[in-house]
């Protein structure tokens, strides 16, 4: 089962990478941002499997993005691999520190404390007039190990970079899901005390999850900053966090791939809705979410499972 999923994932990954140069460039840049955001969603899936939903994940997203933007602005360092790694690292350190506190909280208090933290970062960024306050500032174009593409080539290079980051993260997270700490997510969600009776510290398990999801959000933010070439404090605002949670529920926690598929479907649906129904796109999005919850409680990711099950039953 695992092997089959991994092969399917690898095939999809290679297929996308090969197809990219032949796709229209607007679709490639939409997918770049969608997959970068998909990394944040992947981090939320990790938390959600343990029953935790932060309303302030945008904190780490913005931290990653601003790290990239600031390094580019003040040090002249432009290599995307260094920048992205730095973004993920800063977000990870931040997640570790905040996690010391956050890991003790559950339910709505977990959600609201993380929201408070992200809103404080938002306030600090808004107050920083030298960084353009809410207008934000431009992110310098990155280089890829000395290769400095422009125009369409840059779009493709960024897409491949994001795809690579997604592939690597998906692999690592799938491994994590198979590990003891990963498998324990469901017991933590169902009943913490039983897990503690096994001699494990639930707080430490949660802390680890917070750090992993923080790194993923930072990675996503760093890549999004490079893809959009602009950062602003809105990346830390609670509506950004809410959007990620929205996609997480839409995608479902069933599989790693669902995070990316869900994120892509969401961006595409939003773009189409805003294009064809400029006055009512929120009704369309809200309605889609509502229908998903009512009729696909496991998220879009479960669709694939259902389709697979049908032939099995037939045979």
């Amino acid at each position: 089962m695992w092997a089959r999923q991994n092969i399917a994932g690898a095939l999809a990954f290679v297929g996308l990478a090969v197809a990219a140069p032949f796709l229209p460039s607007w679709l490639v840049s939409l997918a770049t941002i969608a997959f970068a955001n998909g990394l944040v969603v992947l981090g939320l899936v990790i938390l959600w499997r343990a029953g935790l939903v932060p309303f302030g994940q945008a904190l780490f997203y913005a931290a990653g993005a601003y790290t990239v933007a600031l390094i580019g602005r003040y040090t002249g360092l432009h290599d995307v691999f260094v920048l992205v790694a730095a973004g993920a690292l800063v977000a990870g350190v931040l997640a570790f520190l905040i996690g010391l506190l956050l890991a003790r909280y559950r339910d709505i208090f977990f959600a609201m404390l993380s929201l408070a933290m992200s809103m404080i970062l938002y306030g600090v960024l808004v107050k920083t007039e030298s960084l353009g306050s809410t207008d934000g500032f431009h992110v310098e174009t990155g280089t890829f190990l000395g290769y400095a593409p422009h125009g369409a080539a840059l779009g493709l290079a960024l897409f491949w970079l994001v795809l690579g980051a997604c592939g690597l993260s998906a692999l690592l997270v799938a491994t994590y899901f198979g590990s003891i700490a990963g498998v324990l997510a469901a017991p933590v969600r169902d009943n913490e005390i039983r897990v503690e009776f096994l001699g494990l510290s639930v707080n430490r398990l949660v802390h680890l999850k917070v750090v992993i999801s923080g790194v993923l959000a930072g990675l996503g933010g760093a890549l999004a900053a490079l893809a959009v070439a602009h950062v602003d404090p809105n990346m830390a605002y609670w509506t950004t966090s809410g959007g990620f949670v929205f996609v997480t529920i839409l995608a479902g926690a069933g599989s790693v791939a669902a995070a990316f598929i869900g994120s892509f479907v969401f961006e595409l649906a939003r773009s189409i809705a805003i294009d064809f129904f400029p006055g009512t796109w929120q009704i369309i999005l809200g309605g889609a979410l509502l229908l998903t919850i009512l009729f696909l409680p496991e998220g879009l990711g479960s669709l694939a499972g259902r389709l697979r099950r049908v032939p099995e039953r037939a045979s």
């Binding site: 959600w48 029953g51 939903v53 506190l101 003790r104 909280y105 339910d107 709505i108 208090f109 959600a111 609201m112 404390l113 929201l115 408070a116 933290m117 809103m119 404080i120 306030g123 600090v124 808004v126 107050k127 009943n191 913490e192 005390i193 039983r194 609670w238 509506t239 809410g242 949670v245 929205f246 529920i249 006055g279 009512t280 796109w281 929120q282 009704i283 999005l285 809200g286 309605g287 979410l289 509502l290 919850i293 009512l294 409680p297």
Partner: protein, 298 residues
């Protein structure tokens, strides 16, 4: 001295605003364990309804005090209808799902209602200033206070007292308390939880609409006002402790006074003060100020 007095009055007025906005949210959470994002829509619908009502009423040149009451009645009627439709039409199908999933259901509803507002009332803004202007003002030293603000403080105090009394001393209130404490046991003792849920949600919606209605004369009723209120209300009730009226009141007072002090003394930090207070309270009281710690079940 004058500054201290100003901080106190401003803090009270702001706390009254926060309490009126947050009390419906905390009620629904206390009973149904739903963090209701649609609360922002109730607020917005209440404000739009009030603005429409004020427009119709004052066009006829009727006495101002009646306009205030009419505005509140219209808004609460809207809250009643919306609460009933949403609870019966959507929410009852998702009870029993994850709390977070239900939050998302209310978020989806909120998104849709944002566009519904634009479809009903258009994209232009509405004004309902007449009740506030008619109320006049009093002068205390250099400070001028609007009588309308004083009415708001009184209204908040009334709602708090009435809510407290209703929960403690009426039959329905005691049933509610039983459901808050333990839903399953209450059901086992023959409490009709379905009806309690419907009624609670409707009352919560009416309180949300009331919050919007009484704020309508002070603001410009325009698209997006609901968004701003949601997080503010969340912060207040989480600070005070979700699900209790005392909690919402205390949270509103603390946040209101801290914000007023910040504006007068250190305006630079106004943007963070609400979240800083919330984070600080949660660090020391992880479940807010007034929540009883739930025993953990094995």
């Amino acid at each position: 001295m004058l500054t201290a007095f100003a901080i106190l009055t401003d803090g009270l007025v702001y706390a009254a605003y926060l309490f009126l906005v947050a009390v419906g949210l905390t009620l629904i959470f206390g009973v149904m364990k739903i963090l209701n994002v649609t609360h922002g829509s109730f607020y917005a619908f209440g404000a739009y309804g009030a603005a429409t009502a004020v427009g119709i009423y004052f066009e006829r040149g009727l006495p101002a005090a009646g306009g205030f009451l009419f505005m509140i009645l219209v808004a609460m009627a809207i809250g009643l209808v919306m609460g009933a439709i949403l609870e019966r039409g959507i929410l009852r199908f998702v009870y029993g799902k994850d709390e977070v999933v239900i939050v998302l259901v209310t978020y989806a509803t909120f998104l849709m209602l944002e566009d519904v507002i634009a479809l009903i009332w258009g994209r232009q803004s509405y004004a309902a200033w007449q009740p506030m202007v008619a109320a006049g003002s009093v002068e205390i030293g250099d400070l001028v206070l609007s009588n309308y603000d004083i009415v708001l403080v009184a209204l908040a105090a009334t709602v708090a007292t009435a809510g407290y009394w209703a929960l403690k001393y009426t039959r329905y209130g005691r049933l509610l308390t039983a459901v808050i404490f333990d839903r399953e046991t209450a059901a086992a003792f023959g409490v009709n939880v379905t009806v309690v849920y419907t009624v609670t949600f409707i009352i919560g919606a009416m309180l949300g609409a009331l919050g919007g209605a009484v704020m309508a004369p002070k603001i410009s009723v325009t698209l997006g006002i609901g968004v701003e209120v949601i997080v503010l209300a969340f912060a207040v009730v989480v600070t005070g402790g979700l699900g209790s009226i005392e909690g919402a009141l205390t949270g509103a007072l603390i946040v209101g006074l801290c914000r007023a002090a910040a504006v007068h003394l250190v305006p630079q930090i106004e943007l963070f003060v609400i979240y800083a207070v919330m984070a600080l309270v949660l660090v020391f009281r992880p479940y807010g100020l007034f929540t009883q710690v739930q025993p953990r079940k094995i």
